[in-house]
């Protein structure tokens, strides 16, 4: 494709679109981590005693742990004392009571990102909780949700208003001892979203959290807890962006989902953290523990993720199929360009009888991107007639990138049915040429072919998100073919 080289160079210089910094007064702790910092975070948030104890327990446990090294990722050692563990936009009083009290500069940030927080301007049917650095700045449509008994608020608020619910469920899916990053999160998490769907309620709108890291050298450690009571349904969306910074920023979140009998939770993520520049400078280190448990019969949890950002992605949204006849699903698109690295996949743990899981993973690598799928399907002794279907496809653009697949299967019950399919393909010159002969430019053609490759996953996303994700895939790939 010699003829198109200049065009490609142009496209390659296409910059990350959400890379601006918001200039705002913040309340920021100095860098470093010790028990005092943990206590300060808890005190600033005026937390109940149990929460502080939980944090301290987690912190002390974290001190005994080492970062995991089994993923296929090259990571510079992280200096945990150089990170700031709390940074919050300064509000006039305590927390803003309504949107009118939120700093207009903040509202503008979300508008620039295409997330208007003023309810009358919102896309009908989506309630948003916006988390800026460490704190939740606004949650929309609260009253409308309250009519149905749905609780959707920031984690801090949940600790004030519904401490009994938080206490009952916090750490029951991802214990503070689970892994290095989960322990760190449990010690220092600053905010996040909480959502509770009462028995028999079908949540009347999509719930959405929008995460934004702004402050320099701050880590973001948010925590999300979703509880779906018997027979309830909720669809939850998560979006993320960050400014462009030369240094790496750490994001270590924990998400816990609990689905009781006949409940259904659909959790979708479009992750577009700053990926770093072409030389691999800067970018978010994204170490996330996401796990759901189907605690009651016939419960269902689906994870759908489109991961295009971050310098490093370490993420395995999982489902524990504890009760009989429960269903777990994982649909994933992970794209790595330039020097991005992703090690992502899922764990499906079959405990109950007739449990079913589906895994569809689409990895796309371009530039020098390295993309690994890592998945565990585990069928325990009493999980009669468990079934899993895994499909794992990789698409390579160019010859300097890599795709790797690490499936782990552990079956302790002979009635299990496990199916695994995997494929690796290159985007074909013939396909590209075919599109170009019909008048499409290279970038449109690549974007179309890649979107086609991801179709089975994209169709799982709610409509507005799917459109967003398609555009994002196109932008993330621009200039990657040559």
């Amino acid at each position: 494709m010699a003829a198109t080289q200049p065009q490609l160079t142009n496209l390659l210089s296409q910059e990350y679109q959400h890379g601006f910094v918001t200039d705002i007064e913040t309340d920021t702790l100095p860098p470093g981590l010790n028990e005092e910092v943990v206590r300060t975070i808890s005190a600033k948030k005026n937390e109940p005693e149990f929460m502080l104890e939980y944090r301290l327990k987690a912190y002390r446990h974290w001190l005994t742990m080492t970062p995991p090294d089994w993923a296929k990722l090259k990571i510079e050692p992280i200096d945990y004392q150089a990170i700031t563990y709390y940074s919050a936009p300064k509000f006039k009083k305590d927390a803003p009571k309504s949107l009118d009290e939120v700093d207009p500069e903040l509202l503008r940030t979300y508008e620039k990102l295409g997330i208007p927080l003023k309810e009358q301007e919102m896309l009908a049917g989506i309630a948003v909780d916006a988390v800026f650095d460490s704190v939740s700045v606004a949650t929309t449509f609260k009253s409308k949700l309250a009519e149905k008994g749905v609780i959707f608020c920031s984690f801090s608020e949940a600790l004030q208003e519904h401490p009994e619910l938080v206490k009952k469920y916090l750490g029951t899916v991802v214990p503070h001892t689970d892994n290095f990053f989960a322990a760190l999160n449990a010690a220092v998490f600053s905010d996040g979203s909480f959502c509770y769907i009462p028995k028999g309620v079908r949540c009347p709108m999509e719930l959405s959290t929008y995460f934004r890291i702004n402050a320099k050298s701050s880590g973001q450690f948010e925590r999300t807890l979703i509880v779906a009571e018997e027979g309830s349904y909720v669809s939850y969306l998560e979006g993320c962006t960050a400014p462009m910074r030369d240094e790496n920023q750490l994001h270590a979140a924990v998400v816990e989902l609990i689905a009781l009998e006949n409940a259904q939770i659909k959790y979708s993520t479009v992750q577009n953290w700053y990926p770093g520049d072409k030389e691999g400078r800067g970018g978010i280190y994204n170490f996330v523990t996401k796990r759901g448990i189907c605690r009651g019969k016939q419960a269902k949890i689906s994870w759908t993720q489109v991961e295009t950002g971050s310098a490093i992605t370490w993420k395995y949204p999982s489902v524990i199929l504890e009760a009989d006849n429960t269903i777990g699903e994982f649909y994933s698109v992970a794209l790595t360009n330039n020097l991005q690295q992703a090690d992502t996949g899922t764990k499906m743990i079959h405990i109950g009888k007739n449990t079913r899981s589906t895994i569809i993973s689409k990895g796309i690598s371009a530039g020098h991107g390295q993309n690994s799928y890592r998945g565990l399907v585990k069928v325990l002794k009493n999980a009669q007639h468990a079934r899993n279907y895994t499909q794992c496809d990789s698409l390579l653009l160019g010859s300097r990138c890599g795709a790797h697949t690490f499936p782990y299967i552990e079956v302790k019950n002979p009635t299990a049915q496990i199916e695994h399919e995997a494929s690796t393909s290159k985007i074909s010159e013939d396909q590209l040429f075919y599109c170009r002969q019909r008048g499409m430019g290279i970038e449109d053609a690549v974007s179309m072919i890649v979107n086609g490759f991801c179709k089975e996953v994209l169709k799982e996303l709610p409509m507005e998100f799917a459109v967003e994700a398609q555009k994002l895939l196109g932008i993330s790939l621009e200039g990657s073919v040559g």
Binding site: M1, F433, Y434, C435, R436, R438, G439, M448, G452
Partner: protein
């Protein structure tokens, strides 16, 4: 409209086209025939800008433009269309999305506005009727799982929709039964007009019973060794290529 002068092209340093000369004017239909491996597909692919081929000599002009300097998509937007001998499958991309992207790009190049979804569907469905394709094909992935004949009809559908000035068809008739052949021929004839030109690459005279060409050329060993009118195709049908290629040897 299209002027090819002394065109030489290599693939992997092997000379395939060895001095092609051809003039195609608006309104004309040319048939290019010739034995397997003589370079017919190579010629078609070079004209649409396939990058594996190295042009070592010669010149090609399309209207007033230097064709060989244009990117493939620019050639397409300028009005050149190739119905491929082996249409490619694109999994996950629906036919309708593909057609929409193609049509809107070509329309933009002609200074026309994008078609909205309703107008697009209307146009596409009309053309589908012309090539007797079931509308279900719109929602299937491009060419995926299509039979040989269905792929060829899909090419003709795209051609009808994009309304090229110069349509190149590379063995669009191969592997078609007689009914499908008639459908394809009807499609091509529908496109015929004083402003457009058509170049058919074919092995068989039978297509030329339905699309009557103004000129017939025989391509052999990378050169056009004989040109004539439709009667040349009939002669070839009866006598094969031997008498021509041997006469030169």
């Amino acid at each position: 409209m299209l002027t090819i002068k002394n065109l030489h092209a290599n693939i992997d340093d092997k000379a395939i086209l060895k001095g092609i000369n051809l003039q195609v004017n608006p309104g004309e239909v040319h048939a290019i025939m010739g034995p397997n491996g003589s370079g017919k597909s190579t010629l078609a692919n070079v004209l649409v800008g396939r990058e594996e081929y190295q042009i070592t000599q010669g010149e090609v002009r399309f209207e007033d433009q230097d064709l060989l300097n244009m990117a493939p998509e620019e050639r397409a937007r300028a009005g050149i269309f190739l119905a491929f001998q082996y249409p490619v499958e694109i999994p996950g991309v629906s036919n309708i999305n593909f057609l929409k992207a193609a049509l809107n790009n070509v329309r933009a190049a002609r200074g026309l506005a994008k078609l909205d979804a309703i107008d697009l569907l209307q146009q596409v469905k009309d053309k589908m009727q012309q090539v007797k394709m079931n509308p279900d094909f719109l929602y299937r992935s491009v060419n995926e799982g299509f039979s040989g004949g269905e792929k060829k009809r899909n090419e003709v559908l795209q051609m009808l929709l994009l309304e090229p000035k110069l349509a190149l068809l590379d063995e669009t008739d191969s592997g078609l039964d007689i009914d499908a052949l008639k459908i394809v021929a009807d499609g091509v004839n529908a496109l015929r007009s004083p402003e457009r030109a058509i170049v058919l690459v074919t092995h068989y005279q039978r297509l030329l019973d339905y699309i009557v060409p103004d000129f017939v050329h025989v391509l052999s060993g990378g050169q056009i060794i004989k040109s004539g009118d439709k009667n040349l195709a009939l002669e070839l049908e009866q006598q094969g290529y031997g008498w021509l290629t041997e006469a030169r040897a």
